[in-house]
């Protein structure tokens, strides 16, 4: 039995778009828990509601009903300064398209969440150097995004997401805009961060290869939890886990009649 504490609880979460006859239910009462230090993957077909789920947790979307509880606090009630603090300190967000500010250097991009909460780059120099070394981006720290490769950009974005030591890193298709080589580098780095720093990561992905780095995967279909896969990190290789993921994805493609 896993003795780790719950970090995040999602309870009966629903999200409905539109009104009246045009209503679309994107999430239909999803509930699950995320443990501290977990590397959780969310998979599902397009339109299954996985990005909506991540957006609700990241407070980019307001759920229609249900609760999202991070360290015992219901985040759906957050407003103003508390909401800004939650976004800047308690979660880190990794976007598919990096979303680096292209007129800021890598260093300035990374320190942005800290500066927003009153910490200067000088005060955080040690942390910047540590995260930059971990993610292999020291040489590009004083460069602008236009002078970096896609992989470097995404690692700078990861450093920005991690610099304020958030409770959880939310990643939305982080390898979606990268080639396979840079995807592998990024996933290796994320896995290292997860294992060495015990950082909780929740990643939405289409890519079975990316998902194979996770310790647990939730499959979503039509706004509901459909299946769950756990990897025995100690005894199961990523290649074996990958095989299992692909099998579930094939069954997902055939509809719920093939549910395991």
């Amino acid at each position: 039995m896993d003795t780790r504490k719950d970090l995040l609880q999602v309870e009966s979460l629903t999200k409905t778009y539109g009104k009246g006859a045009n209503q679309t239910e994107a999430l239909k009462g999803i509930s699950f828990r995320v443990l501290e230090g977990e590397f959780l993957g969310i998979m599902g077909a397009s339109g299954s509601g996985k990005t909506t789920l991540l957006s609700c947790i990241a407070t980019m979307l307001k759920p229609t009903s249900g609760k999202i509880i991070l360290r015992g606090q219901d985040i759906s009630g957050f407003r103003g300064g508390k909401l800004a603090d939650y976004r800047g300190k308690e979660i880190g967000y990794l976007f598919q398209e990096f979303e680096l500010l292209d007129n800021l250097t890598a260093r300035e991009n990374i320190t942005l969440p800290l500066a927003l909460h009153g910490v200067t780059a000088r005060q955080a120099e040690q942390e910047i150097q540590a995260i930059a070394s971990l993610l292999d981006i020291v040489p590009v720290l004083d460069k602008f995004p236009s002078q970096m490769s896609g992989g470097q950009k995404q690692r700078v974005a990861a450093a920005r997401a991690l610099i304020s030591d958030p409770d959880i890193l939310l990643a939305d298709e982080p390898t979606g805009a990268l080639d396979s080589k840079n995807s592998k580098i990024l996933l290796d780095k994320l896995a290292t961060v997860n294992s060495t720093q015990n950082k909780t990561i929740m990643m939405v992905t289409h890519d079975a290869n990316a998902a194979s780095y996770c310790s647990r995967i939730l499959f979503i279909q039509d706004g509901q939890l459909f299946h769950e896969l756990r990897r025995n990190v100690e005894s199961e290789s990523t290649a074996d886990f990958y095989e299992r993921i692909v099998t579930v994805m094939a069954q997902l493609g055939g509809g719920s009649a093939n549910a395991l």
């Binding site: 990005t51 957006s55 990241a58 407070t59 980019m60 979307l61 103003g80 300064g81 909401l83 800004a84 603090d85 939650y86 976004r87 800047g88 300190k89 967000y93 976007f95 979303e99 680096l100 500010l101 292209d102 007129n103 800021l104 260093r107 300035e108 320190t111 942005l112 969440p113 500066a115 927003l116 909460h117 009153g118 910490v119 200067t120 780059a121 000088r122 120099e125 460069k143 602008f144 995004p145 236009s146 002078q147 920005r160 939305d172």
Partner: protein, 676 residues
């Protein structure tokens, strides 16, 4: 169907963007105000007495109109581009739904025409109201009286306004459509390319900045100390240095700004670094627009100051004589005793002004001894011409001159103790008056028939006759006894008449003078009237003030629109940055504060240079070709300049607020990144 779509889109454009619609209305007001100049009360009035000069001005108007068209084009172009930029996705969608480009452009042109029509419906009444206001105000200021004012609508002005406005709108849209025609549908769906942050080489930028910082002060120096010679080479070099200095300054500013950010960013908190980088990006990518806007604002400041100064010169000539009647004493008495005329006359007196007697002329045996005056003048730079031409061939009786002063509401002069005073009607022309005044302050005397007469240390210049076109180079105001001794002609030169103040207050000076003139014409006596002299003077004042202030305001509007629109277009293109910041924990109020700071800094960068260059330009202007005449109170001029500057600052703050509000409205519509 298409027409319905056009109307709906056009309405959305107007409602969604007050700044865009406001710019269109301003363009209409600008055109009509200029084109209806001929309909203004003052111009109508002047046309009756100075038809030649007014005719020449009316010939000049098309040129100013063409210049306005050129500048207003930029105003409309930037407003339209901002508008279209915000609809990129919508336009892309039309194309992807199968709309032909020709139909799309047809729709955009249709919207433009529809919006033009609505703008004209709103703008023309505003313009009409404004021109009527200006007409009434000018009439009041120049003493024309507003009783005879009639509402005037100039169909020609309306026609040309409509043509010019629609032409400028369609031409702007044509240029925009050409660039849209080259855009791939996929590009419409992108937020728009942001300018790549170039890593400006520190040395290169500093080189440009230093060059700008050297050339600009050099231009100021040349403008202030050398421009008064008005030599073409100096003028060209000054203008060249000023323009290139401004461009180089802005070219180098971005790099310098970047160095400053690098130095400060380790200690920056909140959005300080982001704010500074945004401004730097704008400076780097738009240094040419900044330089042009700064130069336009400088020109606006110079134009408005020149216009106000011209107005000041006009107000300085105080009213003393309305009519000068010529003829036999008895004949004049008979005219003045007629009931209708007597009712209007406030004061009348003979003017004793005469050539000196034979023998006192220049180079004759009794010529005045001007040795002390020549000595005093020789010490003054640039007085060679005056020394060579120094002679006194006219004398004015003290009693007559004191009546003139009394009528102008001034203190009489005291020539007791054998003193005389010096007079020149050219005192206000350039340096002449200043030099003579300087010489008089040396307490000089003039020798007449072997006696030294001390000269009062003030040069007098009040109008001695009604026609101000008559000039008197230099004369002496002498006590009446001395006048009898020196005057070649003992009879009065003319009879000066001043109209009763009650009549002037009732119908305005111009109308009162005109009425009296009509009465005198009926009688057939020879006379000069205030109007004859003042007409041309007033005309040039009105024309110069009006046109320069008009151009000044136009330049001001265009410069501000260019800066404002450039900023807003840039902000829209970098909208995703604000969305990312919101996701990283920046709240909307702090994003709005950052935007406000960016706008303030962005405008300040332009305004500071414009203000410095403008001050140098105004200083140089008033020490050279637009020198303030003698008698214009420096204090009053400074006060007026400060008042004008406060109005300028107030309008600038208002404009910046409008841009900030527009920008913040965009921020408040933001959705955090990832939801696009």
């Amino acid at each position: 169907m298409l027409f319905k779509q056009i109307r709906r889109n056009a309405a959305k454009n107007r409602k969604g963007n007050g700044l865009f619609f406001g710019s269109l209305v301003i363009a209409i007001v600008a055109f009509y105000t200029l084109l209806s100049l001929g309909e203004q009360d003052v111009m109508q009035f002047l046309a009756t007495i100075e038809s030649d000069a007014v005719g020449k001005l009316m010939l000049l108007l098309p040129v100013v109109y063409a210049v306005s068209l050129f500048f207003v084009f930029f105003l409309v172009y930037f407003a339209c581009r901002y508008q279209i930029d915000s609809r990129r996705q919508e336009l892309g969608m039309y194309l992807m739904l199968g709309m032909k480009r020709s139909r799309l452009f047809g729709m955009l042109f249709g919207e433009t025409l529809w919006n033009s029509m609505i703008s004209l419906i709103v703008g023309l009444p505003v313009a009409l109201f404004l021109t009527e206001g200006i007409s009434l105000a000018t009439a009041k200021i120049v003493g024309l009286g507003i009783i005879g004012h009639r509402f005037s609508l100039s169909p020609t002005a309306v026609l040309w306004t409509v043509c010019g406005f629609v032409l400028v709108q369609l031409f702007s849209m044509l240029i925009i459509c050409v660039s849209l025609g080259r855009t791939e549908p996929a590009d419409f769906f992108r937020a728009g390319d942001t300018e790549k942050q170039t890593v400006s080489s520190g040395a290169g930028s500093m080189g440009f900045l230093c060059a700008g910082l050297v050339l600009l002060p050099l231009a100021y120096y040349l403008g202030i100390f050398w421009l008064r010679s008005m030599e073409l080479t100096v003028v060209l070099v000054t203008v060249f240095l000023g323009i290139s200095g401004t461009f180089l300054l802005y070219r180098g500013l971005g790099g310098f700004w970047g160095l400053r950010i690098r130095r400060k960013s380790p200690d920056a908190i909140g959005l300080q670094t982001f704010t500074a980088r945004q401004v730097q990006e704008n400076v780097l990518s738009q240094h040419k627009s900044l330089a042009v806007s700064s130069l336009l604002l400088m020109t606006a400041l110079a134009c408005i100051s020149f216009g106000i100064a011209m107005g000041m010169i006009r107000t300085v000539s105080s009213r003393s004589v309305d009519f000068s009647l010529f003829g036999e004493e008895a004949q004049i008495d008979a005219v003045l005793s007629q009931d209708k005329i007597r009712e209007m006359v406030g004061d009348s007196y003979p003017l004793y002004l005469s050539h000196v007697k034979d023998g006192y002329y220049r180079d004759q045996e009794n010529a005045f001894d001007t040795g002390e005056m020549v000595e005093a003048l020789t010490d003054i730079d640039g007085s060679n011409n005056i020394v060579e031409n120094l002679h006194f061939e006219y004398v004015i009786a003290q009693s007559s001159y004191n009546r003139i002063l009394e009528n102008a509401g001034k203190a009489p002069i005291d020539l007791s103790g054998g003193r005389v005073a010096m007079y020149s009607s050219l005192a206000k022309e350039g340096d002449f008056g200043t030099m003579i005044q300087e010489a008089l302050e040396q307490n000089i005397s003039i020798g007449i028939d072997g006696t030294d007469y001390p000269v009062l240390p003030t040069l007098y210049y009040d109008n001695i006759v009604a026609d101000r076109a008559i000039t008197l180079y230099l004369g002496l105001i002498v006590p009446d006894e001395l006048y009898s001794q020196l005057a070649g002609e003992q009879a009065a030169y003319c009879r000066n008449v001043r109209i009763r103040d009650e009549d002037v207050e009732k119908s305005g000076l111009m109308q009162a003078v005109r009425k009296m003139g009509a009465l005198l014409d009926d009688i057939g006596i020879e006379y000069d009237s205030y109007l004859g002299g003042i007409g041309r003077n007033l005309f040039y004042t009105v024309a110069a003030s009006y046109l320069t202030i008009y151009l000044g305001i136009l330049f001001w509007l265009i410069a501000n629109t260019v800066i404002g629109m450039k900023y807003l277009i840039g902000q829209r293109r970098t909208k995703h940055r604000y969305e990312t910041l919101a996701m990283l924990g920046a709240d909307l109020p702090s994003l709005c504060r950052s935007v406000g700071k960016q706008i303030n800094l962005y405008f300040s960068l332009v305004l500071v240079t414009a203000l410095l260059s403008g001050t140098a330009a105004i200083f140089s202007m008033f020490t050279s070709f637009a020198k303030l005449p003698m008698g214009v109170s420096v204090g009053k001029t400074i006060l007026l300049s400060i008042a004008a500057l406060i109005v300028f600052a107030g309008l600038e703050i208002l404009y910046i607020r409008i841009v900030t509000r527009t920008a913040c409205r965009e921020i408040n519509r933001l959705e955090p990144a990832g939801r696009r």
